[in-house]
Subunit: 638 residues, 2 copies
């Protein structure tokens, strides 16, 4: 008789072991009602995964252990596999904290089954330590534990034998990264199967990343096909953050048959009990619920961006106790897209849009701002900043007394200062004030290109409770805007003109949507900056110049063919531009990012804790100077 297996795609709330346990007990009941033999829960289902140094608090660990025991106690008549922290109080991690493992427990009839290396849990072997992951900061890995005890890892990675209705099944249990060990000196799925596993279960806490699902399907699918066993992937949903970055866990739990193909899948961003049967004799998977539409190998970028942002914003704001948001609305694309998104998440009646014109704002953008508010049905007001700016400027000219020379002096203002005064007046004086009075938060609408080079003002437009577009390049913001109009609002909620005008800050008379826009040429700089931050091997001006001189920069960057040629008129221009933006990217922009609001992470590398930065002095690699000297001997490369 085939086994019935349930995959408990639950919402995990990091920091709330009590609520997570309650949810698990409910799902166990539900699985029992559906006659499931086995239920799986995600990695760190009880404590949550991204909880920062809360891992160092013994009282929190005690609670996680306690709630783990509660789950074990409810396993009468069902086998429960769940992720939790395992604690050994009398042993130590290298740093002297009590020893902890990122562990999977298998419980049946109120007791734990034997795990690994003589313990009653399976320990994670591959502890990720890149991007946002910090596993080795907190946990001891299986290879470390085996090493200390002179055990061979290959002989310790054993499946858990589970007896159900008198028959023994060997479950290969692993945790998240254990399934992604391309560059590790061990291959957990293979070791498990070599040691007799008949089915592989990967319990994960896997944050959504654009493009990652397709990769997972390839990696896990080929694991199943190569090792000729089914692979079950059990992920959670929810938001987890590490301060600077807010990640969504997208669920999408699924089961891959021994043919490598997905047999059944749970939806994205919804709690779901995915059940299927597995006939060990024939290795056939039968899905009680088959979600055909879920099983795509590559995602539509705008669609999944929208889904991730919508879910992430909703949960993040709820957790922060925020149900109303204030946005400065300039008539430009970023604030318009953000406004449409918040109105979708919170309902337009809980969104307050504020247009804050100075003498530099055009009639066109002001009217677009109002039009947008009307289109989406939000709250709207216009609050000019001219009077306040005049007052501030007058105050900045106050006489200052020097107690050294016993004389008075005055300061002088330049244009850039004047622009930043406007931005701060809007952000810190008005938006922050309105947000408090509206009993909500306010939004930072900076996009990733702006954050990359610090094109934004400290405590001005770089301020707010969260930056929903902070991990989107400008071209992705436009694409999201089109998606919102077409698929969410089914109308031109964001007026067409907003897509068509030239992006401009409108902070001085030279900056206009008509002829003086942003200094960034997004069709090129989006891609240039992306190479600096998102390439796995981070690009520097050296590689950029090499590809430019090799006539294949557009393809290296992934921008439209011919872009470089169109944007630059001389080699000297090219170099000056490259040095300017790289200098900002590694310079003042770092200081701004350190104090920037949290970013909703979507890409392969988001600013914040995912991309870790020090404030470093300006530096160009040696080779750059050599290449540049060579290049500038030529008049024009192309």
């Amino acid at each position: 008789m085939p086994l019935k297996i349930a995959c408990g795609q639950m919402e995990v709330i990091p920091g709330r072991p009590d609520l997570n346990t309650r949810k698990m007990l409910q799902m166990i009941e539900q699985a029992r009602a559906e006659q499931a033999d086995v239920i799986l829960f995600p990695e760190m289902a009880i404590p949550g995964y991204l909880i920062g140094d809360r891992w160092e608090q013994p009282a929190y660990l005690d609670d996680c252990v306690h709630y783990g025991e509660e789950v074990v106690a409810t396993s009468r008549g069902i086998t429960v596999v769940f992720g939790n922290v395992a604690v050994e109080k009398r042993r130590f991690n290298h740093d002297g904290h009590p020893r902890k493992y990122n562990a999977a427990f298998v419980a049946q009839d109120g007791r734990l089954l034997p795990g690994m290396a003589g313990k009653d849990f399976v320990m994670k072997a591959a502890l990720p330590n890149y991007r946002e992951f910090d596993d080795p900061r907190y946990f001891t890995a299986a290879p470390q534990e085996c090493g200390v005890r002179h055990l061979k890892l290959a002989k310790s990675v054993l499946p858990v034998p589970v007896t159900i209705r008198g028959q023994e099944y060997r479950f290969g249990i692993m945790l998240c990264e254990d399934g992604w060990t391309e560059h590790y000196p061990f291959h957990i799925p293979r070791l498990l199967v070599e040691n007799g596993a008949q089915i592989l279960c990967n319990i994960s806490c896997s944050p959504f990343t654009l493009g990652k699902n397709g990769k997972r399907h390839r990696v896990f699918g080929s694991q199943a096909a190569e090792l000729k066993v089914p692979v079950v992937y059990c992920n959670n949903i929810g938001v987890q953050n590490n301060g600077k970055d807010v990640f969504t866990c997208d669920g999408q739990s699924c089961v891959y048959g021994p043919n490598g193909r997905i047999q059944s899948a749970a939806p994205m961003y919804s709690e779901y009990l995915l059940t299927f049967t597995w006939d060990e004799a024939t290795d056939r998977i039968r899905a009680a619920s088959y979600k055909d539409e879920i099983v795509t190998t590559e995602d539509d970028e705008a669609e999944v961006t929208y889904k991730a942002l919508r879910f992430g914003l909703d949960r993040f704001l709820k957790q922060a106790g925020i149900n109303r948001m204030v946005l400065g609305i300039s008539g430009g694309i970023d604030s318009a897209v953000a406004a449409a998104l918040y109105a979708d998440v919170l309902g337009p009646r809980h969104v307050l849009l504020i247009n804050m014109p100075s003498q530099y704002n055009s009639a066109l953008t002001k009217s677009m701002a109002q039009q947008l508010a009307e289109n989406i049905g939000a709250n709207y007001t216009v609050v000019p900043i001219t009077e306040s700016i005049t007052h501030t400027v007058n105050q900045l000219y106050s006489p200052i007394h020097s107690y050294e020379s016993n004389r008075d002096f005055k300061l002088a203002l330049d244009g850039l200062m004047y622009q930043n005064i406007q931005a701060r007046d809007r952000g810190s004086r008005l938006l922050a004030g309105f947000a408090a009075a509206y009993r909500g938060g306010f939004s930072c609408n900076a996009n990733k290109a702006e954050l990359s080079v610090g094109y934004g003002t400290f405590y001005g437009d770089i301020a707010g409770v969260i930056a929903p577009l902070g991990d989107l390049w400008k071209h992705q913001v436009y694409a999201l805007g089109h998606y919102l109009n077409e698929t969410v609002y089914h109308k031109e909620a964001i007026p067409r003109a907003i897509f068509e005008i030239q992006p401009s800050a409108e902070l001085c008379k030279e900056q206009t949507v008509g002829n003086g826009g942003d200094p960034l040429r997004y069709e090129y700089h989006d891609y240039l900056l992306r190479a600096f931050v998102e390439n796995w091997d981070k690009a520097s001006p050296v590689e950029i110049l090499e590809h430019y001189m090799n006539h294949d920069l557009d393809s290296f960057l992934g921008c439209a063919p011919g872009t470089t040629d169109r944007v630059f008129h001389s080699n000297a221009d090219f170099c000056a531009d490259l040095e300017r933006w790289y200098g900002l990217f590694t310079g003042l922009a770092v200081a701004k990012r350190i104090q920037a609001p949290p970013v909703l992470a979507l890409s392969r590398r988001a600013y914040g804790y995912d991309y870790r930065e020090a404030q470093l002095p300006a530096y160009l690699p040696r080779r750059y100077g050599e290449l540049k000297a060579e290049l500038l001997k030529q008049e024009r490369l192309f």
Copy 2:
């Protein structure tokens, strides 16, 4: 003939391998001139150590390798031991990045001597992964490399044989944490000596921490005594940061004789070539330069706090290109101490103090602010905020149109909003504006108690280029103030009344220095909050309540005996207070810290990257509820 060894306590500039190499070449020349046989340089002397994900940029690694070769090339007639990154481009770390080691190279006569495991460098075995350290994120550890190649670590940790004037000496080279392996399954100093090392050299990049020098003297001294070899500790000076935290490296390189005692030491925070002779036959160390005053086992807290802050601020501001600072000056202790410190670092003529009164500021604090400016000889001005506040409040009452209901409405303000408006007006409108016009930065004067509970305003007083007092508890701020007056200014630069008034924000008529001060009772809360963040095993309300019920809370927290008894009048009061501040500490304050300026790190655990935090929902451990129920059955515990 004894060997002459030089310890190159250089200033390392992270991110500038070119400048660091130039400095090393100069010191090599100097050592040669002093007839040294061997010169040591610190860990990661070429690249710097805290450089964030710059480690992922191949062009940067190429440069570090190149400059390493330059150093090797200059080693004619001298043996040079230096820290650098070692890169193996054709192999990978677990994450797929090129394999890197935190390595020590030993060069002699233009070539590298054999290191470890068949390589031409010694690799760090103990990679710290706590506090601010992220070594395993970037580097492969010796035990990992040995494991993959089936080498025994104990047989691979070999001293480097160095032949000088025909005699072979076996140098045991290790890197920083290798000397601190209490909780690791291996003991590098012992292995080195067991394998024949005659002298141990620990090259480090060791950030200053209050209390750490005493500990190092005990740990390294007993290593030397136990293993009966001299131990040389070579540290750098300089500032290194990881964005949220700025650390100082304090130097204090020294040599411990086989008796465990310090034989010679370099000064704190100065570049220095520490030279001494070592007679291998007698194991006698003779110091060419003996700095008696340096060799203290325990530091005077206010003195080293001052030294660390002075050096750290100086270097951090220089690197940021800032040579003038603006401070809001309230007449309270925090801004007064900060002002005295900046005036000392930058010179008073480069400091602009601004008093920004509203109707709530007392004549006393206003006069103290002016008096302070006069005492230290700074620049001073008074800029009232009343007019701006009135204007802002009027604007916040602007009619708002609801496009859903097609009606207008207005918002309402409460007292707390009104207070925050004042704080933002001062910080983001005036200080930021003045800082730009003054062509400098402005300071965040928040102390650690305020940052702990978020007692401060986003974009108001929690804003600025750096928070020099952000890792000092309120009582440490007072102590620093007294130190500045007594030892630096030799007069009452900070007027006595500033030490005597009750701390108060003066943001409403209830908050006065006379009778309505801060809600924090620093004599208790400083210590309570410290236990939450600085205790190695983080305290939670459970331990606090346990100790309270056990009548030993004061001693657990380290506050003055009798404090708890004096501050609280009932058990219910105690619990309410504990829940209030723990709730803020784990709640809104986290959101504020995420966007707070960088902190100059001094303590065992500074906010930022040293203490990593997620925004988590409110949660009290289970046991707390049980204890509280038990406690509240009693009328009054004491």
